[in-house]
Symmetry: C2
Subunit: 395 residues, 2 copies
């Protein structure tokens, strides 16, 4: 059930080992589920329990986790049995002992008691307690921060990864279209959301999808906030709905945002969305290999400044393989100060949403960097969707 050929996993592991060598790391302990998947193919929804993939220069990857999940390892990876180790179930969320006591013991048994480990210090699934137990159990080892080490390998996507993201992009467009079709006065937001998520999972006749992390849909005053989900309330004429949707294929995510207005939009809202579209057009046009992330941001910000607008938040980030809670890759961001040069095969979610005091509008799109410039994963026009009372829609 692995999603990539053996040689692609081998290339990922080689690139990771190269970075490990540069950082002086003997054994990398990977706790970020995306990174575990990237190196081994492991794709179980088990990251709510502590688990790791260990990689040394001459051995591994090795999976250590809850014994109950070993069936998931066997079905989604090609790891040999000798490189799969499980801990007993009474360690799960126990008050008096910890999973990393066992993990440390396995590492010791493998001969790594004095190794220099790389640990992902700022990864959701490497808690303060995990680090405390690991370091206490391996007093002769050394520990270096390897947060985002594998993420930086992941930032340039392979052709096969880009193909999955292209599929996710098609799904994202379909889910956005489902939202626009469903939103109408009197319709409950939850009923529209049901159609959106069904479209995300159903996909196309050729391929289905997963549920992406982020499904934000908020209307009226709620549109002023970036991270709210739908409610039971019916849509009302005279309100804007700001949506951050997307598609997900084999856990590769593509974000996509648009807004819908029911009725005749006020001039300020219409003008702002037109400016946002122009800013995104120009920022996208600035994308090409060698350009720094902050330069793309600067182009966007210059257009918005013509309307007197500034934005507190970054306007994008690298995106790709993901598990909850974040589809961002925790590497490069489109913001001032980020000098990362764009390279072909990088993929970013550009988020041009604006949140004002009591309303907001969303506009976002995911693109890849090409040799010549960029290519968007969406075929939708960059504009506000306007629906009048009859349900007719226009851009």
């Amino acid at each position: 059930m692995r999603r990539f050929e053996e040689r692609e996993y081998a290339a990922r592991i080689a690139a990771t080992r190269s970075r490990m060598a540069l950082a002086g790391i003997d054994v990398l302990l990977v706790t970020c589920p995306q990174n575990m998947n990237y190196l081994t193919g492991y794709d179980g929804w088990s990251f709510y329990t502590h688990q790791i993939v260990a990689l040394a220069q001459d051995r591994g990857p090795l999976w250590i986790g809850r014994a109950w999940d070993i069936a998931c390892v066997r079905l989604t990876t090609d790891l040999p049995e000798v490189d799969i180790e499980g801990y007993a179930d009474d360690y799960v969320q126990a008050a008096t002992k910890h999973e990393f006591d066992v993990i440390a013991e396995v590492l010791r048994r493998r001969g790594w008691a004095k190794a220099r480990f790389g640990v992902e210090m700022d990864t959701y699934y490497y808690t303060a307690r995990c680090h405390e137990r690991l370091t206490a159990n391996l007093p002769d080892a050394r520990f270096a921060d390897a947060t985002s080490l594998v993420n930086w390998v992941r930032i340039v996507k392979s052709p096969r990864e880009l193909a999955y993201m292209a599929e996710a992009g098609k799904i994202a467009d379909l889910s956005l279209a489902a939202a626009v079709a469903a939103i109408a006065p009197g319709v409950r937001a939850c009923d529209a959301a049901a159609k959106v998520v069904a479209a995300q999972i159903k996909g196309t006749p050729a391929f289905g999808g997963d549920v992406p992390e982020t499904i934000m849909m908020s209307s009226g005053a709620g549109s002023s906030a970036p991270h709210l989900a739908w409610t039971d309330d019916p849509y009302r004429a005279g309100e804007v709905t700001a949506m951050e949707l997307g598609g997900c294929r084999h856990r590769y995510c593509v974000g996509l945002s648009r807004s819908v207005y029911l009725g005749t939009p006020p001039p300020k809202l219409r003008d702002l969305t037109a400016l946002m579209a122009e800013a995104m057009d120009e920022a996208m046009a600035a994308v090409k290999p060698g350009v720094a992330c902050e330069e793309v941001h600067a182009v966007w910000a210059a257009v918005m400044a013509r309307g007197g607008y500034t934005k507190k938040a970054r306007i994008g980030y690298s995106i790709g393989l993901d598990y909850p809670p974040d589809w961002g890759e925790h590497t490069a961001s489109l913001r001032p100060g980020d000098r990362t040069p764009l390279e072909p095969g990088m993929t970013f979610h550009m988020v041009g949403g604006m949140r004002l005091d009591d309303w907001g509008v969303q506009l976002s799109e995911t693109f890849r960097v090409t040799e010549a410039g960029h290519a968007s994963f969406s075929a939708l026009p960059r504009a506000l969707y306007v629906k009048d009372g009859s349900g007719r829609s226009e851009l």
Copy 2:
């Protein structure tokens, strides 16, 4: 937009302060999104960035997070402006500075430089780096582990919480029924999953739902693993599909699992599911106030032993308010050694799924402890669903 009355939040805060006092904690730093919601109502999908709720005996709760998310705080809590603090966006996932540098500075400014803090050491959203930065920035403070301190307050649900869980239970039943209706030979699993999740969000005419954390659907050999999602593959006659579904209402979750067999189930599978149903019947019947969690497990295990079956994993856990990645409450578990006595208002997801070498079946249900015994949140029969080639289903 808060889901509970002011006095309910006040009671939660009072109970938390009582536990803080017993533990000698001056200021509790809450990083678990469920706990932040529980104490303040905060309900933004922003926990992928670092954020906390701080609670002292005489002050707070105070929200400190990404400035971009303050709109979510204003819309979902009643916190006064003076108790909301945001950090600048260039701290988000930055390589050279950290969100907890700012959070520590806010805590110092509030007069807590020498406080004894409680921190949730083993919570997903309190990473090793968070703890390192916090302790480095507050050298005169002391730190105690407060993992699950609020979770233990949450374990007994209020009438309003139970009402939300009852709604989630109705949604869970509807989503399971949608799965049974959709699964048939030749139907792609992703198309069935789309109907399941649509049912979870659409809910009933009276209330909608959210997407619960766990939506596991795996068939054939995949049913041997507990944590796999659907694929694009069509269902085939002669295969079992094991499902762990559920419902979610205002982030209160109810888990529900059943299995579907297409065709005539082999005797071993039919006998096992009959035994699992009997074990769950007996274990549920053993639930009443004062009984220990491990005693419920023992009843279940005794029935299963009659068929020669044992299970590596716990058979249940406290469940309720949740955010990704886990709907389990990280408090009491139904397993040997857990002496937690059951109390009225506690809610558990009892998971009787069995995973054999190359197939498995699921059966789970969520119940509440009552004064007299228990009440299930599901009205569905505890049995294997069997569908023949015509799509007709029986239990």
